[in-house]
Amino acid sequence: MDRRAFCLGTASGIAAMAALGGSAVARSASDAVASPFATVVIDARFATGRAFGAAAARAGSSILTFHGDLTQMWVRQLKPLWASDGGPIAGLTTVAGLFCLEQLAKDHWLRMVARTPVGATREGPPFGGSEGLIASLAARRPIDTIRPRREPIPAAELVAWVIAKS
């Protein structure tokens, strides 16, 4: 995991997210800011994804998790949300996962409006680049609801993104 790349990527991603959310403001590291996204999607196989989700949860986002196969998450949670026009959704997934979600989003005339490469990673030590993200999002929810599964984790290109109407 390239910490610098992630911090840079996260910073620009959060700026994009903040801009989209309208009310969010990137402030100093100690300030707590409400998440502009009611919902955040993460591939919880990856420490990076779990850290991103934890930070977003603390800031008030609902977190939708999946472990590689996003079928059930999409069917049960995301699809109904999109069908009811649930607003911009952020996520941190593999590139392939994002591709699938982009195609599904088209069913609701939604599109990817922001995308930030997070770099390639394997399961490893706790993600250390989330401080900036955590500082930018308010801490509202416990973070231990997102647990990794004990299964082989592939190397993957990860990406943070926003899917929205426009």
């Binding site: 996003l70 079928t71 590139v95 591709f99 069913d107 005339w109 190397a155 993957a156």
Partner: protein, 550 residues
Amino acid sequence: MMLPPGVKQSDFSSALAEFAKAVGGEWVFTSDEDLNLYRDAYSPFLHEAEERVASAAVAPASTEEVQQIVRTANRYGVPLYAISTGKNLGYGGSAPAMSGCVVVDLKRMNRIIEVNEANAFALVEPGVSYFDLYHHIRERKLKVWIDCPDPGWGSVVGNAIDRGGGYTSANYRNHFDSHCGMEVVLPNGELLRTGMGAIPNAKTWQQYKSGCGPWIDGIFSQSNFGIVTKMGFWLMPEPEAYLRCTVTVPRYNDLMPLVETLNYLENARITSGFPDLASPLNGYPPTGQVQLWNESGPPQQTPEHRRVLAGAKVGFSPELEAYGIKSGIPYWELWLSFHGPMEVIDAQWRAAQRRFSTIGGVKFRVVDRMSLPFDPSKTEDYHEPEFGIPSLRAFSIGARTPWNPTPSKGHMWFSPIIPRTGEAIIEANRVFAEAARDLGMPLFRSFAMPACFWERSFIFILATPVTEDPATNKQYRDGFQKLIEVGGQHGWGEYRTAPVFQKSVMDVYSFNNHALQRFHETLKDAIDPNGILSPGRYAIWPKHLRGSQS
């Protein structure tokens, strides 16, 4: 704003205004950001000017709105291109066959009109996805299965019209063959129902396919003769039990009796589920386990295995065969599955074993034997589509690995139909591997096995990657065209292809100076004289564009 070829700006604007009047202004799309949603995510012209793109899109919510759109298009000469949900990636996606068409996006027409459990059929609109139909059935606890492709995110109607396939029983795997009755908006806006549906207040529209007189349903698939707005399908009664077994044989030449016996068993309906061929010795997985291999990689091979495999030609060398026998690695492996009452499928498996026993060294193994439905928490243990369960698992891979070289940029499916014989598998491998190697196409690693979607033929489904590099994409496009020609020279043709290759594919179907293609054009001229429906789809061009576009 892009204009359709030969259409004046004023006419196009008038047509768009009338489309908006018909469907509501919010369902007519003209901005670049909206039209980007209709680009083919797997276009072989990635980043190139030749990519086929829409000039606008319109999303009707009813058959009546489709009729109004078609009539308006006729008045102004605006070409349309109908899509259901546009998920046939690798075969064109939601992009039109000709740039400048207005995409008619049917995904708002998503009503499941009927699911009849007692006689196992359904009637749906084009916007209904396999997931929609599956969950509709599950929520109502109806005891019927759908048959879906993998991934199962697409339209039931769209996949059938594109002649896609699935993974359950032979009666249902061919999605066009398992349809029963259509409703079609013709190019003049008139509404037609096929089969028994032509009878007002028909009582058997989804229960008898052909009605009386010429059976015309086929002309509305892979074509541009109408927009299908309703379609019936036969569903599979939920089986009581499931049995999955393997048959393995040790020698190269065992492939011929293995396939011949499979054909007998399937054509006689002794085996009912999706048969799946693999070659453990050549390192080729069964179709149903490609996902697993992509996730975890194939079984490890010893250095000696890799060495003898590298020396094999068309999947064979005496050393490879000897190594397989010595190491207990089968040359060929056939996966069979059976659906039905347990006592019936056990008997069918015994009959199958008796038939295969004539092959020396054959071995049998029962992999799964269980009552249905199985515990939903165990779904991930199986290839879901073989149980009629749609899945998106194909996208769970994030990594570019030796086993998964093209995870996200896309691919063009090269999918020739070949005879259902062992000899044809070997001959197709020889011909295509040789051609692909000469063309620098990364299609074959060592030996490829065909899939058994169709009852009496095999099909190869080979992914030609789409890359970020236009020069490489051009090389692969040119190579793809050449492979189509090579296949044609051997009497093999594609079953389906992306718009970019539809002319080349249809050129192979050239018996008697392209009599088939000329018949398509005669039909087109007769029923769509203004040429407004999906010009160029499967190389059927209206008269005014024939030659200039094709």
